[in-house]
């Protein structure tokens, strides 16, 4: 098998295990490329990719852009703040205008759940979902699972805890879907106000005590607290959040085994994790960032095969 089952990457939900394995093996090849002095390959020459970011993002956009450029694609960037969106143009019109300029692949981040699926129904281009509301963030989940695979040899049978704001997190949802497809056990841990009431229907364990959660797991994925995404207060203060769900060195050292620490970035140092944890040898945060480019190259490469 050498192609994906869909012309879009809308979410992990729509991927088969074979799709994910194909993305991983393709990323293995690109990771080798990234470690060569000549980091560029001609795979996407004559393919035009538009990065549409209707929500602020620095690192995801940069990661996508680097992936696109290293595949020799032509790249255009579109940020909502400088766009016609503020003039009231609809999403479909905005994207069709861009497509009229002969764009092949759209990478889109959008604040509303379902926006990528919606767009794929109404425009004629390959859509890569770079995050839609609290729904999915498939490339993040792929790079997280890929990083676990890299560190631990395989994902199957591993115990992964996702800590933090599960209610507003597309990273959590995509990670749950991805890790479960690959055979890992998943637990979620966080304040009860930030835990969806029906989360256990997804087949995850739920734990509110961070110490217990960390004792259980092989890998802890510490989510960023995104205050900008919370329209009301779900916990009284960052100080109290840190007291309950912050990971510091003494907690890490108190565990009976060495766990791996991940974070999707950007880190609020001293909130989700302290600096000495982020910079410790148990953290694979920078490997995640590196793998992000390889994963995105793989996704774009495989989708471009469907375009031409």
């Amino acid at each position: 098998m050498s192609s994906l089952s869909s012309k879009h990457l809308l979410g992990i939900k729509g991927l088969s295990v074979e799709d994910i394995e194909l993305i991983f093996s393709t990323a293995d090849n690109f990771k080798d490329v990234l470690n060569r002095p000549m980091k560029k390959v001609p795979s996407l020459r004559d393919v035009t990719v538009a990065n549409l970011f209707f929500e602020n993002s620095t690192r995801t956009r940069l990661s996508f852009e680097l992936a696109e450029r290293r595949l020799s694609a032509d790249v255009v960037n579109f940020a909502a703040s400088s766009s016609s969106v503020t003039k009231g143009e609809t999403l479909i019109d905005t994207v069709n205008n861009i497509l009229a300029m002969k764009v092949d692949i759209i990478v889109m981040r959008h604040p509303n759940a379902g926006a990528a699926l919606f767009l794929s129904r109404h425009v004629n281009a390959s859509i890569v979902n770079a995050g839609d509301g609290a729904h999915e963030h498939p490339t993040q989940a792929l790079l997280d699972a890929y990083s676990i695979r890299e560190k631990h040899g395989e994902v199957k049978g591993k115990k992964v805890v996702i800590v933090g704001d599960i209610l507003h997190s597309r990273v959590a949802l995509s990670n749950i879907f991805c890790l479960q497809k690959l055979g890992a056990e998943v637990m979620v841990c966080g304040p009860t106000t930030l835990m969806p009431k029906y989360i256990s229907s997804l087949g995850v364990k739920v734990e509110h005590d961070l110490h217990k959660a960390l004792e259980w797991c092989d890998v802890a994925n510490m989510l960023r607290i995104q205050l900008e995404r919370q329209d009301i207060k779900y916990f009284p203060s960052l100080r109290e959040y840190m007291m309950l769900y912050g990971l510091d060195k003494s907690l890490l050292n108190s565990l009976s085994k060495k766990i791996t620490v991940m974070h999707p970035g950007p880190i609020n140092r001293g909130v989700e994790i302290t600096s000495d944890v982020a910079d410790s040898d148990q953290s694979i945060i920078l490997q995640q960032v590196e793998n992000g480019v390889a994963i995105r190259m793989a996704v774009l490469y495989l989708l471009a095969g469907k375009v031409s």
Binding site: K13, T90, L91, I92, H110, P111, N112, A113, G114, A115, L117, F118, H122, D132, G133, A134, H135, E136, R170, L173, P196, K197, Y198, I199, S201, L202, D231, I232
Partner: protein, 421 residues
């Protein structure tokens, strides 16, 4: 104008012809003759074979968008959709622009004449501009014909205001309608809170947002010794609360929207905004509870909650798409499809005709000689797949398009007029 409906089975327990297959002669809007065979000729004849003739349906919850949003629906197109769906009367909600909140607003709608067999009744706003702060001139509106008062889907958040509205209308036997929704809990929710919302990452509207408000209003209803009607209830807990309140002797009634009897929240798995309604589509166990509530009489009426929205307001990112479904043409068929094994035709017709009329104190309708001709002709054996061409509303946001339904309205007669669907 003379009209004969041939050989339909009359379904009206109040009528001497109940369950008999007859010809019905209508002349100048009055039933002149009911007989097994009428040999006269008429200007218009309707074949009622295999059909049932029921007292005309009444819809307690329609949003015609006139004045203000005529591009979504005006009174003419709305009444046309109502007639197609078997409704000979509708209650227009006050959520127009400007809001129907004064005698002038009520009269504007009531004086609008349409050459269709549909009576147009009006609900006035409970609070000025529906913002939930100050009472409107409900007495004046009542005198000019407003049948009840409600802030519609805005839902009165302030308990004190609801209490004063219940007390104030008692004086002139006015009726308060409450759409139960606690906004401090439902917030920016987009769909039912449950397994599906968790998978979709959409903000949930928990059942408790509805149930808390019902519990509050029932307490107020008891305290003020007034009557209250709950619009479009949707949860199992809501049915339980109202069942208990009725048993305790409170003057409470309620209705359910037809789409809540057939569709559940899994319809939203593809983020299709046609299924984005308020209250949200709930779960299969809620549907079962609603059916039981209809059977045991807890729920008095079925409405369409007709909420036409143009494509610009629906074809959007899900969070931005408007709530609401167009539904007059399909309400009866949707309800029959859901309830055919639960209610007898007679019981179902009651939920569409005498049930809603009784709530707003309209006289019930009889199919008898000398009475006004006001009835709906339905073929319960017909199965049909809804297509966009069946929709007479200006807006096409009907959630049943493409779905197969049982039972079809064939015609309505009222005000000396008839309409064939």
């Amino acid at each position: 104008m003379n009209l004969i409906i041939r050989q339909s089975k009359i379904c009206d327990p109040q009528s001497a012809f109940h369950n008999k297959t007859c010809d019905v002669l209508v002349s100048d809007g009055i039933i002149k003759k009911i007989s097994e065979k009428i040999s006269d000729k008429a200007d218009q004849e309707i074949d009622g074979k295999n059909c049932m003739l029921a007292p005309g349906f009444f819809d307690l919850h329609v949003n015609f968008r006139e004045p203000g949003f005529e591009y979504k629906e005006d009174i003419q197109s709305g009444c046309n959709a109502a007639a197609a769906g078997g409704f000979t009367g509708v209650l227009q909600m006050p959520s127009t622009f400007p809001v129907i909140q004064s005698r002038a607003g009520v009269e504007l709608v009531r004086n609008r004449t349409v050459a269709l067999p549909v009576d147009l009744e009006v609900a006035g706003a409970l609070s000025s501009d529906l913002v939930g702060k100050d009472l409107t001139e409900m007495y004046d509106m009542h005198k000019s014909g407003a049948l009840c008062f409600t802030d519609d889907k805005k839902a009165v958040q302030d308990a004190g205001l609801m209490m004063r509205a219940l007390l104030y209308t008692k004086n002139f036997n006015g009726l308060i309608m409450s759409f139960p929704n606690d906004r401090s809990i439902s917030g920016k929710g987009q769909m039912n809170e449950g397994v599906v919302s968790t998978q979709l990452g959409l903000k949930g509207i928990p059942a408790i947002a509805e149930e808390l408000m019902i519990a509050r209003d029932l307490k107020l209803c008891e305290y003020t010794d007034s009557k209250i009607h709950f619009s479009t209830i949707s949860t199992s807990g809501a049915v339980d609360l109202i069942r208990k309140a009725k048993a305790a002797g409170l003057k409470v009634t309620c209705d359910v929207a037809a789409h809540h009897l057939l569709l559940n929240d899994s319809c939203l798995e593809e983020f299709d905004s046609r299924f984005k309604v308020k209250p949200p589509l709930r779960t299969e166990s809620d549907i079962t509870a609603l059916k039981n509530g209809l059977k045991d009489g807890t729920i008095d009426a079925i409405c369409s909650d007709h909420s036409p929205e143009d494509i610009e307001n629906k074809q959007k990112e899900f969070d931005h798409a408007a709530f609401g479904a167009e539904g007059l043409e399909t309400a009866f068929s949707a309800a029959y499809t859901s309830l055919k094994d639960i209610l007898t035709p007679e019981q179902l017709f009651e939920k569409f005709s005498s049930g809603p009329r009784k709530i707003i104190s309209l006289p019930s309708i009889r199919i008898a000689e000398g009475e006004k001709a006001n009835f709906t002709l339905v073929d319960l054996s017909d199965q049909w797949t809804v297509s966009e061409s069946d929709i007479r509303s200006k807006s096409k946001n009907n959630p049943f398009i493409g779905k197969k339904l049982s039972g079809k309205v064939k015609a309505v007669v009222n005000k000396g007029l008839y309409n064939i669907s």
